[in-house]
Symmetry: C2
Subunit: 87 residues, 2 copies
DNA sequence: TTGACAGGCAGGTAGCCACTTGCCTATGCT
DNA sequence: AGCATAGGCAAGTGGCTACCTGCCTGTCAA
């Protein structure tokens, strides 16, 4: 999961899903290009989404030929739990 | 900062500093070897500490020929703030 | 002052990872 | 059926990075 967060493009994908949840691959591609100037191939974004899914940060819902991507922020709690704030 | 967290050895260093704050380089090296089986060179650990310091996760305090390393968890808040939990 | 100890600097290497290219599968529309 | 769209698979490449080796600097004690 930490490795998933290490890439700027993947973090931007999470931003995009925060703003608009349940996007498809093509939708994400065009929005990443329009709003963030990320000019990557569809395959590149697809691979990023695989990593994010493997990290548990993105959940998938298939519907016909569409594949919707949903953000899951639950794994992020591990971080602040692992290194808690001292008082 | 995200890249700093991407490496398992660096995360273990943060764990070690959580348990015992203000360790020196040599102290960290031996404890990483003893308790976590991390058999890296002093230089490797030193470079990791540089990365962690650049990420703001570790703060340095020099004293004579010693250099003490202190954990700073403040930057971690950015993560949960950036992708907040939906209700 | 000389040796031991704590740490720094710099060049080199090997493995990983983000990205691309090229081709294939599957679903839906007309 | 036939074509366009949404997505998948796999091999190859370039750059980054974690790691090492070798040598140097600075601090303290005997």
């Amino acid at each position: 999961m930490f490795k998933a967060l290490a890439d700027p493009t993947r973090r931007t994908i999470l931003d995009e899903l925060t703003e608009r949840d349940g996007q498809t691959l093509f939708e994400l591609c065009s929005r990443l290009l329009m709003k963030h100037g990320i000019d990557s191939t569809r395959q590149a974004i697809s691979q990023h989404l695989e990593v994010l899914e493997a990290a548990g940060l993105v959940r998938i819902k298939r519907e016909g030929r569409y594949k919707f991507h949903y953000l899951d922020t639950a794994p992020l709690k591990q971080i602040t739990e692992r290194w808690p704030t001292r008082d």
